[in-house]
């Protein structure tokens, strides 16, 4: 068991962190908004943690746990505020336009972080202190967090706010006519997603020990989008399963050596063509008897 964790512990924590990132993208998607901004907020949260723990507070030995919690909170809050500022104008855009605006947002943040002194420029920030001795202890923080966010998503899906999200996703004009304020709910979904991404960034910075501009790139945004779409975008389970599966996939394919990234791309292609609704579908979950059938049946695919 010990060897299992020492071999795969890092991967397992990474899978949970990526599943959480997937969830951060799932929240806007609940309201029908395709936002690729998650890696931008993730990078922001990570930089906040990295700067605090290496430049503001100087500690010896293990990094204090309460400071880590503070960083997570700060990362989430800062991301939430930024999301509010960006979201109010940006969420007037629909579909592909919003996706493009969020790509632009991520790229701008990336170039800025490449050029600022405080973020360490192109080199990034090194030697971020460790609050835990091994990946297993990280898992004891990240797993409850994953369960908490997933539980929140599950509650949200069935709440009044969640139903407003669904209504906007299915038909924004109709939702508006029914007295739902689309802008309010879209910005809310965007801010929730950003806060999750920012908080996860703060943990990841410690976990990865180093933080640089490569954390928040277009490629990262695409990976996270793939988690949700390959996993299934109609239930929060999709983001989790997709995050787990696609993070583990390169490791599973490791015996293929240099071919594994090619196979990874091929699987995305095949997934898009043959699993248009993703791996996990609400109807499928309902058949398992775990959940009630979703109130609104999906009208199209995806």
């Amino acid at each position: 068991m010990d060897t299992f964790f020492s071999t795969y512990g890092f991967l397992m924590v990474q899978m949970m962190l990526q599943a959480l990132l997937g969830l951060s993208l799932y929240f806007p998607m609940m309201a029908g908004q395709l936002s690729l901004a998650s890696p931008g907020f993730y990078a922001l949260g990570g930089y906040i943690a990295a700067v605090i723990s290496t430049k503001v507070v100087v500690t010896q030995g293990m990094y204090p746990f309460h400071l880590l919690l503070l960083e997570i909170l700060l990362g989430a809050m800062a991301s939430g505020v930024l999301a509010l500022l960006v979201g109010i104008p940006a969420l007037r855009l629909k579909g592909i336009y919003l996706a493009l605006a969020t790509i632009a947002f991520v790229e701008i943040l990336r170039v800025v972080s490449l050029n600022l002194d405080i973020t360490g420029g192109a080199v990034g920030i090194f030697g971020i202190p460790q609050p835990f001795a091994n990946p297993l202890s990280y898992a004891l923080l990240v797993l409850p967090l994953l369960i908490l966010v997933a539980w929140f998503a599950a509650r949200l899906e069935r709440s009044r706010v969640g139903r407003a999200f669904t209504a906007i996703r299915e038909d924004e004009l109709a939702a508006d006519a029914m007295g739902i304020n689309p802008t309010y709910y879209k910005v809310l979904a965007f801010v929730i997603g950003a806060m999750v991404a920012g908080g996860i960034g703060a943990i990841s910075a410690h976990f990865l020990n180093t933080w640089n501009a490569r954390q928040g790139t277009f490629d990262a945004a695409i990976n996270v989008l793939a988690y949700v779409l390959i996993g299934g975008s109609r239930t929060f389970w999709g983001a989790i399963v997709g995050g787990f599966a696609l993070t583990a996939l390169p490791e599973i394919l490791r015996p293929l050596g240099d071919l594994r990234l090619i196979v990874n791309g091929l699987l995305l292609v095949i997934g898009a063509i043959y699993l248009p609704q993703g791996l996990i579908r609400p109807a499928w979950l309902a058949a398992l008897g775990k959940r009630k059938v979703a109130l609104v049946q999906p009208k199209g695919e995806l």
């Binding site: 940006a90 579909g95 790229e107 701008i108 170039v111 695409i222 390959i230 791309g265 695919e301 995806l302």
Partner: protein
């Protein structure tokens, strides 16, 4: 700003902007017909440059599986560029047949086509890395022939305004392609059919236009333009590895949104605007040059989402 520097920036901006334009035209053609953004376009750009490089007889000094590969012959550059771009167009055709068409046949959401194209980009880029390697491949500096001087002086002897000869060639070729393409779209029967398919595919089909054939043609044209743009940029700088096209792929997005998604003159205007904006970034802020296109993209989306030349879409219930 000094007049000399101004003219120099202007010419450099126009040159790079014109490449952005023909690259972005490949994006915008597919968007106008299918309403999807083909992220694999950046990968096709890279492949086009690789094709031309090998066709002129270049040897692979990368460490991929095909290391030290070289064709036993070398074509003249102009012919190699043409053939390389045609091959890139062929890649576009394969992508449509193998991936986009099966997805279309299932009537899937356009968002899924986005994911599909990203998967294809990942596939192509890593395939290139596997076969060729991640090393930089450079075209010979006199690839256009010895008649082309490395730099042309646009100023006087006292106040020289040197502009690289390659830049002039790139601008001329790109503008030529833009004119040909505009004529093709606006003055020929093929162009008329393409516009009909773009306006409404179902109606066009009912009126006897073979929609699938024109979609395939669009993918070919898009691949051709992408491949040509890749070759032109590679002769100006070099092929910086399989990820060569990724930055251009993202900038191309900014270009088409700036001009208006799916709008052909818009893509040209957008390309030139972004090329010029980048060229005029002051030296002190040159590190932020990479963000210019995205800042413009973000601003234009907020101020005028339909783009500079685009039509406003009125949502009908």
């Amino acid at each position: 700003m000094e007049l000399g520097t101004f003219i120099q920036s202007l010419l450099n901006g126009l040159s790079i902007g014109s490449v952005y334009a023909i690259f972005a035209l490949g994006y915008t053609l597919i968007f106008s017909i299918l309403g999807i953004i083909n992220f694999a376009h950046g990968a096709v750009f890279t492949l086009g440059a690789y094709f031309t490089y090998f066709l002129i007889g270049g040897v692979n000094n990368g460490t991929g599986v095909l290391t030290n590969l070289g064709l036993p012959f070398g074509l003249p550059f102009v012919l190699a560029t043409l053939l390389g771009s045609l091959l890139a167009g062929g890649v576009g055709v394969i992508l449509d047949r193998m991936a986009f068409r099966p997805l279309r046949a299932r009537g899937a959401d356009p968002l899924l086509a986005l994911v599909l194209s990203l998967g294809l980009a990942l596939l192509l880029v890593n395939l290139a890395q596997y076969l060729i390697g991640a090393e930089i491949l450079s075209f010979p500096s006199n690839v256009y022939g010895d008649w082309l001087p490395p730099a042309i002086n646009f100023g006087s002897t006292e106040n020289p305004i040197p502009v690289r000869g390659v830049q002039i060639i790139i601008f001329t070729v790109s503008m030529f392609v833009v004119v040909i393409l505009t004529l093709l779209i606006n003055r020929t029967k093929i162009g008329k059919a393409l516009r009909a398919v773009a306006e409404n595919a179902t109606t066009a089909n009912l009126l006897g236009i073979s929609t699938e054939r024109f979609i395939l043609f669009t993918f070919f044209l898009s691949g051709f333009l992408g491949g040509l743009a890749g070759t032109l940029v590679a002769t100006s700088f070099s092929i910086s590895g399989p990820y060569f096209g990724v930055t251009y792929g993202l900038k191309g997005l900014a270009v088409i949104v700036l001009g208006g998604l799916g709008d052909i003159p818009g893509a040209v205007v957008g390309g030139l605007v972004i090329g010029l904006a980048e060229a005029f970034v002051p030296g002190d802020f040159s590190a932020y040059k990479e963000a210019v296109a995205f800042a413009l993209l973000f601003v234009i989306l907020l101020v005028r989402p339909q783009g500079l030349l685009g039509r406003k879409v009125i949502q009908k219930v």
